[in-house]
């Protein structure tokens, strides 16, 4: 429970904010929420990482399965991931997750002052 609530909160708020703000707004969301929810640094990183990992990989997966993996197979060849769309979804989640996780960690560390 300690983890689940912040993960969901960060995912939902990031998802809403991303509809009108640039991609790096996920960092601001994670920073503020980690600060406001008084998360411990380790938990903040994990919750923020997972929140945006799930959001990005999830949104991407919904688009990808609706697309029959036509695009992901090509991008996963360009990048080169041997055309594997699972790896591409994983990479998508990790990129968003890392930015959010680090920002969450920063927010938590600021609270700890």
């Amino acid at each position: 429970m300690k983890l689940l609530f912040p993960v969901i909160a960060i995912a939902i708020v990031s998802g809403v904010v991303q509809n009108f703000a640039p991609w790096w707004s996920i960092a601001i969301v994670a920073f503020i929420l980690s600060y406001l929810l008084r998360l411990k640094p380790g938990l903040a990183f994990l919750a923020a990482f997972l929140g945006v990992f799930i959001l990005w990989a999830g949104v991407a997966a919904r688009l990808d399965f609706g697309n029959d993996h036509i695009l992901s197979a090509r991008i996963a060849t360009l990048f080169p991931l041997k055309g594997n769309y699972w790896l591409l979804l994983l990479l998508t989640g990790v990129i968003g997750g890392l930015v959010s996780g680090l920002a969450g960690l920063s927010g938590a560390l600021l609270r700890k002052q």
Binding site: Q18, N19, P22, W23, W24, A27, F31, P41, W56, V59, A60, L63, D64, G66, N67, D68, I70, L71, S72, R74, I75, T77, L78, L91, T92, I95, G96, L98, V99, L102, A103, L105, S106, L109, L110, K112, Q113
Partner: protein
Amino acid sequence: MRFIAFLVSLGATIGLIYVLNHPLGPAPALGRFFDPYGGFWQNAENTSHYHDIDMQMNGLHDKVEVYYDDRLVPHIFAQNDEDLFFMQGYITAKNRLWQMEVQTHSAAGRVAEIAGEKALAKDRLSRRIGLGYGAENSKAFIEKDAQSNDLVRAYCAGVNAYIKSLSPKDYPLEYKLLGYAPEEWTPLKVALLLKNMANMLSVYEFDIENTNFVSKFGADQFHYIYPERDSFTDYIIPRGTPWAFAGDSAPAVPEALPAGQKVANVDRDLYESYDRAIEKPQELNGSNNWAVSGSKTKSGKPLLCNDPHLQLNLPSIWYEMHLSSPTMNAYGATLPGAPCVISGWNDSIAWGVTNGGRDVRDWFTVQFKDDTHDEYLLDSQWVKTEKRIEHYKVKGGKDFVDTVLYTRFGPVVFDQSYGDVRSKKYLSLKWTAHTGSNEFKTFYLLNKGHNYDHYIAALNNYSCPTQNFVFASRSGDIAIKEQGTHPVTHEFVADGSTSASDWHRVIPNEHNPTVKNPERGFVSSANQFPVDETYPYPVSHVGIYENPRAMRINHLLSDSTQKMDVAYMQRMQRDNYNTIASLTLPTLLRVIDRSKLTADEAEAITALDKWDYYDNADSKATVYYETWTDVLYPLLWDEMGDPSLPMRKPNTYRTAYFLRDDSTSVFYDNLQTGERETREMLVLMSFDKAMKKLKDTYGSLDKVKDWGTYKATMVHHLSPQLDAFSRMDVYCGGNRGIINATSHEHGPSWRMIVDFGEMKGYCLYPGGESGNPGSKFYDNMIDSWAKGDNYTAKFEPKAQLDRDKLYKITFNK
């Protein structure tokens, strides 16, 4: 301590965002690119959910309905022409925006803005040969014609309405990958597209190569190796067709290089630069078209076919469309970025194009008074030079400024400022593509035309690149005309210091070769020589004309044992008979001593003995033959391989007759060896080398793959960096020089059959309607194309389309 940890963490966060928000070398900004809300995932189109859309569109005068059929071909129904062309622009941009822009950037010499420094040399060449200059002239020329001006402006307004509706998340994938944004579409870009076509299709001249050849081997060898006409040629205008005009009084043959003239070493410098920079026309580009009169068809009505062969690319060079308004109802292939249908039909007529291959440009040597280049020598006087300053923006680099010198004989392309020219020598280019012209008027009038007179009137507006326009009408006429602006040009580098070198003779439009309803019941063209000896103007014999496809097409069309139908036309378009091989192989096989062959060599020879000359996908004989001749040709024509003295190698068609009929030519000698080779020695040498090459590749000769696998036809994405979006290894038959001209990277870019009996069209092209690699319509037609299975075009009224549609967009004013 805690504070330091905070700072480190914050710094890492900001640093990571910075890195992910900026491009890394060739890779895009990863954060932006992978963000599923704005990055590439947004280009993953849903493959099953389609629903009708109702939307408001500023700029329309009335309601427009667009029906997409099951191949995503748009059928536009407008209440007036302005709305029709507005929507043509809008709908085309919706599927092909990136391609439209990159093609015009290429013609305008602006690729360095996207790709950086490495594209600058090519950009400079595009401008130095005057593509932008020509496009500006055409833009001004089009503006003078109110009707064309309206149509081009409406088209641009439609494209811009689409661009303005986009936010960055909606940009085509390539913009996201390469990190830039679409810019406004303009009439200049429409003109640039035409100049892009001119640059692809009207560069059939070999002035420098010819000059080099004659200076080295003399005029007699020149006329022998590159004969103007031969007794086998099946001209576009059937032999003996009378001309309705007398021509002019000038001699029929243009001047040859003055006897004994040699190419000076200082000029070699220029010619080398030329050879490195200028891409010469490929034997691989070509096209077929024909029309059969009702007297030869099952339905009693004409049939018309067209398949232009070009480099195979994704997104495809063509975009299939149906354009309908109260004054027109046209269907066919459009050129993304430009209005009208280029190859297609309407309710009354059909038309199609093949390339004319006429020589419409010349190279001139120019002398300047001094290093300021302010004046150049003309008729013993110093004449003022026009200077055009070209500014280049370079991505990730410094801007670049180039001054191009314009003379009476066009822009100076090669000099000390470009192309590693060391000496103070200047080579300028005069080209019909530099002149303002309005080719769209031709297509506009054809789109609306009803009969033969409309067709001829439409063609009179057409200048460059020269095309053979085939024609058929529902009322029963067939015709063909080779149309373009045709000055009588030079065959050698010309002297730019005298106005006598200028183009003083231009063949009037009315005198361009044409024939209507010939006795034989069909008209056709396949890039062969257009006219016989009685044509009263010279046609420069550049040796690029090829005859084998025309011979085969006319042979098949001459069949009087059966009445023709769509199935017959389709068989013809798929025909894999290799006429050149049928002319060449017997000469080669005669030389082989069968008693001296190894077991697997004997097997290869047996396969060749039994070969029916069809380049079908499952043929192994084709692989043996192609490998053999691929080794033989460079050995034979090695005299023309010196990069400091560029010459052109005779085409495979000329080589076939050369090998058959000439047993003693000096060209058989290979300069790399000490001894003097004969034809027989070359044939054997090339056979040994070719078989060794195949053994090295496949282990042994019996393991050689079939032709379809060996040839591995590819359809490349337009950006060389994005090969992941290409289609590789398309298994199919075909070859250069045959009707189904599908080679490794070239082939039929559009196949069309129009049947006036049923009033139906059958189309196909190697790609798909969508330019988006994330769409199922990106390359969905390639497999049918490989098999040659044309789709039936839904050239239907609105009510029928409403039943057949995938979805419909209604645009309200």
